[in-house]
Symmetry: D2
Subunit: 131 residues, 4 copies
């Protein structure tokens, strides 16, 4: 069995689990850029103690390189948990993360997300770096 057999993908406008990557189309080499990743941008995903998005990871594969880099991992660690019982707590983290980074070459971002009951999801987005 391969991760490929476990990884789901879909149009994020129709499927609430598919991660969304918001990044510029083109940037300058070495400038600080912002990349946002989220789940549920169009159709909100549940955010309860029993059902929630745990994390989103952002990878970058350079066009001219063989291996991907893990850029950032965003962990969403509270979803209404409480000593009063589930969904009674005072804090709920939404499945959203924003990274700031510098790129030196063009490549492709791949985001993976994990729902604690609906498993693994992925999306990708290319970015052009003017060197």
């Amino acid at each position: 069995m391969k991760i490929a057999d476990l990884m789901q993908s879909a149009d994020w406008k129709a499927e609430k689990h598919a991660p969304v990557i918001d990044a510029p189309e083109q940037v300058k080499a070495g400038e600080k850029i912002a990349v946002e990743v989220s789940v549920g941008k169009e159709i909100a995903h549940p955010n309860t103690t029993e059902h929630n998005i745990r994390w989103i990871k952002l990878y970058f594969k350079p066009d001219n390189g063989k291996f991907p880099y893990e850029v950032a991992c965003f962990e969403f660690n509270v979803h209404g948990e409480s000593v009063e019982g589930p969904n009674k707590g005072p804090v709920y983290t939404e499945p959203f993360g924003k990274a700031v980074l510098k790129l030196l070459t063009s490549g492709t971002f791949v985001a993976t997300a994990y729902c604690n009951i609906h498993g693994l999801w992925e999306s990708d987005k290319a970015i052009k770096v003017a060197e």
Copy 2:
């Protein structure tokens, strides 16, 4: 030995390791709010393969509760690493994270950050929730 003995703090305008918490002073209960955490906002921290900020964690302690919650963890996982050698890689993640969350009660955020050679740092910021 206690974590308290290992945790450092300082004014972030003078010390490049102290995490900064950018959050509103007052919010409405249950509305989605953004909280940004970063290191090096005033004085940039190095971002090299050998010396970098690995993560920032954001906690929330409700005023009326005994225990803190971990809201989010932001991991910064690439700093120029490459098969070509250190600091030859095409990606550098900056020590910045943005969380989106909902609060139901007033409390205090505590952020902790980890530099791979200068250890653990913390900061805090209170937030008022109009219920």
Copy 3:
């Protein structure tokens, strides 16, 4: 507010949240050693979708150094979650981790653990390295 205000500690034989560090008293410099960390070794902690131990971190503070290092982080990510409902799932991870590491100098391990409803807990244990 400081992390010190949020961090709890207790004798692990009496308090089910206190992390336990199982490490040798004395080791040789540079040899591979095993260090186990766990929660609930004497009194089991609940392991349910609503209430569980999320992670244990292991730090090391060298006697002759100013800053601590994060040795490892163990995340326990499944506790019966399921599309069938909470506690209907087929997997439950226990709050236990084992690291293998090499030390070059004497120092002290500090472990921190996080319960999703009872917050942060810590323990420590010194280790002697024969150089």
Copy 4:
């Protein structure tokens, strides 16, 4: 681009990056079992500030379920980093983790590992649960 395009696999006896999953062939439903994951079991992987294994994740896909669960994540966070310079520090974490868990149904473990310069690697291992 898909994660499948980035994920490498190989026989761990010949390739030092391929994660190894050491788990029993058959267990009883609900009993506590140990599962070890590691990289470099046959051929050691470098463990330096510039080149190291950052994490191993362990997933479980039940035979009778559609979605995988993330069982545990092991992060290896120190590799000789120091204010004295790279590879001068007193601690080196090896790419090894041991989880303790309970299973209620048969399925397959999938482990993924990340080398900071050689990217993503995966392995799998089936386990039978006598119910």
